[in-house]
Subunit: 353 residues, 4 copies
């Protein structure tokens, strides 16, 4: 922590303040500048809140944090080594990480009925996906909109898993549902709207299924990593970060602004694997292919893409869903080219089936 | 709903589409403009999602919503009549609403110990507050920061309620805690980070304590009202909306941007009472007095202000807390003047004690 | 400047870097923390760019600025004393500043014809305004929209000035027009879209009419003060800062988010007088009264309000304009009450006429 | 235009309003919905301002624009055909457009001296660039920062042009400098801070050098296209749009948020060629390679990348500049792979030299 004193701070106040810091177990080191005095605080400052320090004296102008607020999520925690998250699926273990091929996750926004989810699973698998996404519990802005089929949809996801061999990624929205969802899902998803639901973060941190943590709509990168830290600190090391677009002043065309620069930024900060969701990230199926290609070129470890057998009749998020045909072409003819160019592509085993 | 067709849409497609809308039970009315055709959809469109309609044809350029997405929260729902939320406190019933004096809610960010919370309660009551705020469960960005004393803090709030006669407003963060918190609180607070926690909204909507709904950090006004609609639709009519600052590009001085224009905006849209929280809204105690005065001048129904007996030693949010002395002066010498000027001030009965 | 080194920075690099700083005339002071080394740079750092320092070594994690980047605009520059800007008008000198009554500026978005501008001038003066606003040159998003009558409108403003005795505030958009506009205006306005037009800032800084500097739509407070610094550094000490709403994610109701917290924030940073423009700040005449009252309660030195004799027929910005009748009522019956409550109101001399 | 009437609007008012619209030469068509009446306005509405229409009656709830506000910039204006901008350089004509290879523009933020600019020109040309960027006039936040060498730097750019054969792209900031800059530059750049400097837009629209129009920091896509429309409407058809990052709440790591989704979005809206500037778009050289690759994968027509022979000693924007060596590797080993994968790469002729 660096404590910047206001211009004209009395010497006595600086002395008093330094003593107070010492009583807190910190070693204050004073730098007398041309106009201002600055106090560096040496010691265990990670758990200190810079806003608290500020209150120690009205002569403090501001407090600057030097240490990062997260530990387990930091790249230093693994001495610069990226982590790998291996996930069990009926078709075998699938790794997410910088030294592995891009993993494709696809499926509808919500699970509507058995035929639809099983068919979609088979189609996205044939195209090259290794995981099926699909919501049983859906966060919807309107209480009058379809809220997901809930528990019964979990059964349909289990059926789709068995029929396709794909791993299942589905969202959990309530601490009360964690066990139930975890019984079916291979990966528990925390949605953007719940990234700051700390009760839920602690709960998924205390069970052993891997967690996909979506970035909150207006979460800074530090806040996102702190949300991951909640899960890691609770004992679950298997966290994948998923960028899904942030909220900005421009919402007329793309619904959100997909922040692809998080890829190089996070590579410097964290060891955790990254996923990009261009479907929510743009909100329009027309924009998905360009952004999916860009994400692979920028170095993502995984992609999440919405696919629906009949987007016009989807119960939720139709406009951002690709048809299975379009998805098939996208993966095989467009993404594969970029994936191979950056040497992050594996020929889908499905080609042999 | 207004469906705008792309330039050059084939006549046949417009005919096909109109038929499809009719099958959905809607009456399409076509307007042929100079360059574009527009289709007005007449009928029960409130539950339709404009994004879904968009998928009906690739020739649709955009879909514009004409009806508001919320019903019970709308001013029309009460035929233009503002609602009043009356809350029981040991000192009697207190009304929140446009035709009543400004209600003052004050207290520390979190409940730290009995002495501190009881003392603060007495001090803020003496200054003119009618409710005590104080967190038992605290949403904190860091898993390593103080998370609130939880259940034991609820007991301390009950003690402060008894000692002071103030009503209690405290946050609930987990569906599992709603009953527990409701047993003590007079008002359940949904924090900004949980405004989109729909499971929690449904749960507080299904019990009978009034709810204070804070605006999410990046929630639009429509989304905020839809969150209120979740609570109202679940059966609880007693909702107070609280603006606490939104996230913008400017975060160097004030932590958030306090959006006071919501006061005149919401007066046109909803019947629900409004509260302004200048403490979270700015994040710095120095900025609180000016913004509290502004809020009253703009017409707020209530204010929530953080007060801590010793901000430098607060376990959370010290920098935005006023001392009891400063708060006393603020209410009695600054807010009262503005409150009287706009005829929204009642001499606190406490002055007689 | 505080230079934060990366974890594990080699001792030799820190030594090398310190030498390099010394060669630049700075005294580096090293603080060895638990995980990181931090170097404080003492000396003349105001003109240094923290981004430049960053490049001195790849081992630098970040550079934190301790000194403020502006000088003449800072409160310290006047030793904590607020400045006053006195402006000559036909009716006498009018002061803008913290120790003077709130100054009201009113008038149409653009000057349309002589009758309209003279009539508006008389009406707003009768209501209590001391300055007439009105655009001769209009920044319009569309090249096909009315761009202002330009030079001929300047003549009409001169006529309105003479007829009403009000001072004139009008916008200058082009370095080529500064002299022409300055020949008529009592205050030159730099619009939000030109806050970062540095050529224009230098030019208005080099002439002697006072300048009203509107905040850019996405300008931080530091950037805004730096824009003022351009004018001050070029020799013109008479700058008034005007907040007119910033751009955020919420644009459905109010067009911009009026950031009233700049009032207490700027009081700590600068000596310059402040104006609030609730008309552009909200974009809807219905929201103007509440925000004008709030601005006075929060401590603004001046208000700018759009008034048009017939908003429905205005050539620009009709929806945010009040009618003269509404404006008259607003000033006399609503603003005066708040203005008196905060002791910043002078009975308009016009009342005697 | 679609005019949405408030619930309960009197029939008489709707009739009156319809007549008023007819008097303006528009054909109003009424749709009576379940709760609301909507009036479609048929006729020449492109030049109407929806905010003006709003003022026609207090019973109007909102006005929705159906027509796009720009014409010449629209894709329809060229019947869906992308435009090509061909630019003369000493090395021959270079096309910018969707059916041509990606064009690389590189060079320093500002022109510092002859040796530096000539050396940089040669190095970036050897790597594959076809244009040299470099500022003679620099928009700087601080009046005390280096403002560019101005006119003398133009001479140095001319020398670099001659020495390298590269085309020159440089910024013009003042209407007074357009002729001077145009005498040397092959492309005139309008910087982000001047995107809304309408005087300047008109001026560059009235001369015949091609214009590179950077997106304003908080400009919506519609505003950006309207700025282009200013140039097109003034008679200059050669406009290239350049995305350089927008301002959002996240500014701790990347300085701006590079909005790559503009690529697919603009392809649907406009025929104009697109450039991406990952250097300003992220503000950190470490993030540039990933975003440059992403931009090509997403379909950009051109890239602008900052290169400086010694970033630590750069007079401006060092931290976002690549060294010539890093740039050489980036283009030849990283961008070329993606460029070839998407079939938008031409082996630089320079390889033969």
């Amino acid at each position: 922590m660096i404590v910047v004193m206001k211009v004209g701070s009395p010497e006595a106040e600086i002395t008093r303040l330094s003593k107070e810091f010492e009583e807190e177990g910190l070693s204050p080191e004073k730098i007398v500048g041309k106009h201002k005095v600055v106090i560096g605080l040496v010691g265990e400052t990670a758990s200190l809140d810079e806003r608290q320090i500020q209150e120690f004296s009205p002569w403090i102008e501001k407090v600057l944090r030097v240490e990062r607020p997260y530990k387990r999520a930091s790249l230093e925690f693994r001495h610069g080594e990226p982590s790998e998250v291996w996930i069990d699926t009926p078709n075998g273990k699938v790794p997410f990480g910088q030294n592995h091929p891009v993993v494709i996750v696809a499926g509808p926004c919500s699970v509507e009925n058995e035929e639809m989810i099983v068919e979609t699973a088979k189609r996205v698998k044939a195209a090259g996906a290794q995981f099926l996404r699909g919501g049983a519990y859906k966060p919807r802005t309107s209480p009058y909109a379809f809220q997901g089929h809930g528990e019964s949809a979990l059964g349909l996801l289990a059926a789709a898993r068995e029929a396709s061999g794909l791993g299942i990624i589905t969202e959990v929205m309530d601490t009360a549902d964690v066990a139930k969802v975890g019984a079916v899902a291979d990966v528990l998803q925390i949605g953007a709207r719940n990234m700051h639901n700390f009760s839920l973060l602690k709960k998924v941190g205390a069970q052993d299924k891997p967690v996909l943590l979506k970035r909150g709509m207006s979460a800074t990168i530090d806040e996102w990593l702190m949300a991951a830290e909640y899960i890691l600190a609770a004992g679950n090391p298997n966290v994948i970060l998923c960028e899904r677009g942030i909220r900005t002043f421009e919402r007329s065309y793309a619904r959100n602004t997909l922040d692809l620069a998080v890829i190089p930024v996070l590579r410097e900060l964290t060891h955790l694997p990254l996923m990009i969701d261009p479907s929510h990230g743009t909100g329009r199926s027309e924009y998905v292919p360009a952004m999916a290609k860009a994400a692979i070129a920028a170095g993502t470890d995984a992609l999440m893409i919405e696919v629906h057998p009949n987007p016009a009749k989807a119960l939720s998020d139709g406009p951002q869903s690709l048809t299975p045909d379009r998805f098939d072409r996208l993966v095989k003819e467009e993404l594969s080219i970029i994936g191979k160019a950056v040497e992050r592509w594996s020929e889908p085993a499905v080609a042999l089936v």
